[in-house]
């Protein structure tokens, strides 16, 4: 990654009882999730990038532009940074209608620099019918969509999203997630996405940074990072991998859909997507069991040949996490230590991974 492309972010910030100390090199495109439990510093990090928080020691360069360099006493004020910021609770202006909320940022960007039109953002977020309403007449999900559109209309060169779904119930989340995916697919704006939800991260992110107590403990490409074994036990109860697959065909008789990916295929309940479309699914480590032989006399349909790469202790003394390579697709299995001993699991060993549940994202 050369200096002109990507995001270089180094911050040291002290609060009573909390210290943020990160040094990150992030890709300058796609969705990067800042993932961690509450109090891990992910929102503070995002606010430092936005310029809402001023880290005493800091260096921030985004795709070749320097926004902060404490060594040179350089600090670009938040309102001079070409960012869009989506707040956890939307933070709309209560005294302005939806339309005027949307126009607030847009009007303040030179016409020559506008790359997102009002109609385009309104259509993308499905808020056409809300334009004349006041914010207090919107549901939580609607507010959040307006907040996202408002941020997009500043034609940001970097979109910062602070848990945009955290304040919403599951139904509202599912209402917004498709819009976020469209955003990802249709606009080429790099996104930093703060979340504590593994499912959201798995569904939206390309790249992930794991934060714990103000430090970045891992960062990298999503699939690689989630399949790593050396992460602290705090994350191992959520351990699992994300697989990007293609719809290969449907089985109308059994109402199943076949998904293929490097290393094999799985059958899932019938999906609406047409053959050739791409889907992400997540396999939790706790839903993967291991067998030495192909167990044909079993109700589990999804079996993948795999090779053991490594094994480590899991979150409880009774369990271990096994990292597998299924023909190029990494998998994690969480099994009891007793089973591991009985099967004599060792690196290099060939065996079968039995997948109980495939969680489809989308």
């Amino acid at each position: 990654m050369n200096a002109a492309h990507g995001i270089r972010a180094r911050f040291t910030l002290d609060y009573p009882g909390f210290r943020l100390e990160v040094d990150l090199a992030l890709p300058g495109r796609g969705v990067t999730a800042l993932f961690g439990h509450s109090g891990s510093g992910k929102t503070t990090l995002l606010r430092c990038v936005a310029g809402l928080e001023r880290a005493g020691q800091g260096l921030l360069a985004v795709n070749g532009e320097c926004w902060q360099d404490s060594g040179r006493s350089l600090f670009v004020a938040a309102h001079r940074r070409p960012i869009g910021y989506v707040f956890q609770d939307a933070n709309l202006f209560a005294h302005l209608s939806v339309r005027r909320n949307l126009e607030f940022g847009m009007k303040r960007v030179a016409a020559s620099e506008r790359r997102v039109a009002l109609g385009q953002a309104v259509e993308l977020l499905g808020i056409d019918h809300l334009l004349e309403r006041m914010p207090d007449r919107l549901s939580g999900g609607e507010r959040q969509r307006v907040g996202i559109a408002r941020a997009l209309l500043t034609s940001p060169r970097l979109l910062l999203m602070d848990e945009p779904l955290a304040a919403l119930d599951l139904k509202r989340k599912n209402e917004i997630l498709p819009y976020l995916e469209r955003l990802h697919d249709e606009l080429d704006i790099p996104v930093l996405y703060v979340s504590h939800s593994p499912d959201e991260v798995a569904r939206l992110a390309d790249h992930v940074v794991l934060l714990e107590q103000g430090r970045a403990i891992a960062q990298g490409e999503l699939r690689e990072t989630l399949a790593r074994l050396d992460l602290p036990t705090a994350f191992s109860e959520d351990a699992g991998v994300v697989v990007e697959a293609e719809v290969a065909g449907h089985d109308a008789h059994y109402h199943l859909t076949r998904l293929t990916f490097p290393g094999g295929e799985v059958l899932v309940s019938q999906r609406p997507e047409a053959p050739g479309q791409r889907l992400r699914f997540r396999v939790h480590a706790r839903d993967v069991s291991l067998a030495l032989q192909r167990a044909d006399g079993s109700s589990i349909t999804n079996l993948l040949p795999a090779r053991v790469e490594a094994m480590v202790a899991a979150d409880t003394p009774a369990h271990v996490l096994v990292r597998l390579d299924a023909g190029g697709t990494p998998l994690l299995a969480r099994i009891t230590r007793r089973s591991a001993d009985q099967l004599a699991i060792a690196p290099g060993q060939q065996l079968w991974a039995q997948i109980k549940t495939v969680a489809l994202l989308g």
Partner: protein
């Protein structure tokens, strides 16, 4: 005619004094209230206390110090004389200065509360939408603080109308220059003109009631947060 010409002059002078005072207080009080609502300076406490002093001081005390300060040997008097303005006591300008101090907390405190209630978050949203500090002050903070401005204007105006002690100390009783309604009522009573006093006093009572009704019964009292 219920009011004679002296009464009408006093009413006009009172309205003029209250209007000028309210406008000036809104102009001067807004930055002060903004600062008090947001600063972390150690001066916040002392300055806030000074602003609130007229709430508890007898008007005669305030009027006495103003009289001394604005007199020929006081520091304000020295200044106004140096500027060729003469001295302020017993003039309309002097009354305005007195009223500014006297009504200050009634304007500054509602504004300060309104600004504090807005908090940092709308301003942060404005900053991420490219609005600089002045821009977000005028287009976000001021509109959001509108209920506070309504309250401050009403209270500032009404409280100035009801001023008596400070006026008597620094303004005296000069027709068409410093004789406001409250002083005129006093004069009527001194002269045993109870009918005249009744009309003015009753008018003040009605005015004050209507003002408070406006304040407590108004939809402006409901904030924006719904």
């Amino acid at each position: 005619m219920i009011f004679d010409s002296a009464d009408l002059a006093a009413i006009w002078l009172t309205v003029k004094l209250a209007s000028v005072t309210t406008v000036l207080l809104l102009l001067l009080g807004t930055p002060l209230a903004w600062w008090l609502a947001r600063t972390r300076s150690t001066w916040r406490g002392p300055i806030g206390a000074v602003v609130a002093l007229p709430l508890v001081l007898p008007p005669t005390v305030l009027g006495f110090y103003l009289l001394v300060a604005m007199g020929p040997n006081g520091f304000i008097g020295q200044l106004t004389q140096a500027l060729g303005l003469g001295t302020l006591p017993f003039s309309f300008a002097g009354l305005v200065v007195g009223s500014l101090l006297y009504s200050m907390p009634f304007v500054v405190q509602p504004l300060q509360n309104a600004f504090a209630a807005i908090g940092e978050r709308p301003l942060e949203a404005a900053a991420t939408l490219r609005a600089g500090p002045w821009d977000s002050f005028f287009h976000v903070a001021l509109p959001l603080a509108r209920p506070g401005f309504v309250t401050a204007s009403i209270l500032g105006f009404a409280h100035t109308v009801g001023e008596f002690g400070v006026v008597l100390m620094i303004g005296g009783n000069i027709p068409e220059k410093t004789r406001v309604v409250s002083v005129q009522i006093y004069d009527h009573v001194e002269a045993m003109e109870y009918a005249q006093a009744h009309w003015l006093a009753g008018g003040m009572l009605l005015f004050s009631f209507l003002v408070l009704l406006m304040l407590y019964g108004s939809r402006f009292r409901q904030g924006w947060q719904g």
